[in-house]
Amino acid sequence: MREVDDPTMKIVVCVKQVPDSWAEKKLSASDSTLDRGSVDAVMNELDEYAIEEALRLQEANGGTVTILSMGPAQTTDTIRKALSMGADAGVHLVDDALHGSDAVGTARALAAAIAAQAADLVVLGVESTDARMSVVPAMVAEQLGWPQLTFATSVSVSGGTVTVHRATETGYDVLEAALPAVVGVAEKINEPRYPSFKGIMAAKKKPIEKLDAAALGLSAAEVGLSGAWTEVAAFAARPPKAKGTVVTDDGNGGTAIAEFLSAQKFI
């Protein structure tokens, strides 16, 4: 049971737009960043769980839900989709100077925007399906100096305290911290809602604020490609694997595999 809490609780959800995970991705030859032109952009599927969890916390406790996303111009599509699920407002960090930010730069920009929003609770997904680093939530928390409760399989807020179940290799830990805090939700923590027709219409009128690096008080040296603390030295397509042997089962398929495994010294 969630208690009715401070109705002014301000929740910010970090949502990323990513290339469709069905597509074959490649790196741009000019600056070794993801070639976004070559594939469709969609909402990071894992962030849908973060939006849903934020909306449920809002339903239980009151307050507002703001969507925060950093990315190129077309990212507004993803923010709009989140608004049509029911979030109240969007903040879009968009600036050529932010292009090519590494994890540290991304966390820095998101944290600056979160601080400006005076958020009580930040909810993030477990991983972006393109970068696949799973480190941005921890980095945002460190940047803000806030507690971090991640890999959450359940979240509740009561009396200014957030409690989560954190999935571990052997079960889960129960974690507790005072707000403001950063929460990262696990995949499948909930069943994300689909935008309703009414939601889609309402989203068209909801505000999306656009901010650039300067508005966040960030210099070019802190974000983007030039502010990155890592550098791609080289990349290469992995040589295609030599074609393996494929046989059709004639009643001895299992034995054929055993022979292969034995030749490879697995058994």
């Binding site: 974690l175 603390w229 030295a233």
Partner: protein, 317 residues
């Protein structure tokens, strides 16, 4: 020679194999120094020394176990400050990646995650886009922090001193912000951890039911393997979600990956494509998983897999 800090993965002093792999990588860059947070140092030190740790830093204060993630960050940050290591290596486990992420922000260093190789100059190779592209990156600011995937290199027996150095750190209030109020352990079987296992046997939609997974488990047990599953199988509730392999599940790179009744969708391949040897059983000769198979059998898994299990058991005899 500068030290290279390796964060030890352990359960009460039983050191995980990935730590030995990291020590082998650390030796390429400098002098391996293990960092053990928690209890069990007496049990851990001999194993760490055997695999090349010249020094073992031990932070055993019970208070460290009361809070999540940040105490380990504080220990590593203090050691980086004191020892100016050439690099910090941690395993690409969920928790250690977070430790690495917070550490990077705290000490002002670049971070490379999920490396599959690290060279003597601390450049790290990552396998991205489901293994189709290899990227080599370097950290250009601060002390390189690199998280390394399990099974990336072989552990090396290289006996070293393993001298114990106890470290105490003063936790800040911020490091005490997330209290662990309970730990709930769900019993799991005797199979190896999915991410660490040398052999993984996975089942997909072709397995057909939760009961069908007994066929997959039997093969896994005959090989001492971990069991994995495709999202189709976990979504259907046939196998628990934590065993899902792929883009939104676990990434594995075992010596041997056996996929039965799995079509090989791009999101599944993203989590297993870098396995050293891939064996496939699927009744559809057109299934894309055959494209990455070293050895494949077109056939019904319910006849092929039990026959294989029987053969393995007989040959191990």
């Amino acid at each position: 020679m500068a030290e290279v800090l390796v964060l030890v993965e352990h359960v009460d002093g039983t050191v995980k194999k990935v730590t030995h792999e990291l020590l082998a990588l650390a030796a390429r860059l400098g002098e391996p120094a293990a960092v053990l947070v928690g209890s069990g140092a007496d049990a851990a030190i001999p194993a760490l020394a055997e695999h090349g740790a010249a020094t073992v830093y031990v932070a055993a204060a019970p208070e460290l176990a009361q809070y999540a993630v940040t105490p380990t960050v504080a220990v590593l940050a203090a050691l980086v400050e004191q020892r100016s290591p050439a690099a910090v290596l941690v395993a690409s486990t969920a928790e250690s990646k977070e430790v690495a992420g917070r550490l990077a922000v705290r000490i002002g260093s670049g971070i490379i995650t999920d490396a599959v190789d690290v060279a003597a100059d601390a450049s790290a190779t990552q396998s991205v886009f489901g293994g189709s592209v290899m990227v080599t990156s370097t950290v250009t600011h601060g002390t390189p922090i690199i998280t390394v995937r399990p099974n990336s290199v072989a552990p090396v027996v290289a006996p070293a001193a393993g001298s114990r150095v106890d470290v105490t750190v003063a936790l800040s209030d911020a490091d005490r912000a997330v209290r662990i109020t309970d730990r709930v352990s769900q019993p799991k079987g005797g199979r190896p951890d999915l991410a660490e296992a040398g052999v993984v046997v996975s089942g997909g939609r072709g397995v057909g039911s939760a009961d069908g997974f007994t066929v997959i488990e039997a093969l896994a047990d005959s090989l001492g393997a971990a069991v994995g599953a495709s999202r189709a199988a976990t979504d259907a509730g046939w196998y628990p979600h934590e065993f899902q392999v792929g883009q939104t599940g676990r990434t594995v790179a075992p010596q041997l990956y056996i996929a039965a009744g799995i079509s090989g969708a791009i999101q599944h391949r993203a989590g297993m494509q870098t396995s050293k040897t891939i064996v496939v059983v699927n009744k559809d000769p057109e299934a894309p998983i055959f494209e990455i198979a070293d050895f494949g059998v077109v056939g019904d898994l319910f006849s092929v897999v039990p026959q294989l299990t029987a053969e393995v058991t007989a040959r191990k005899g």
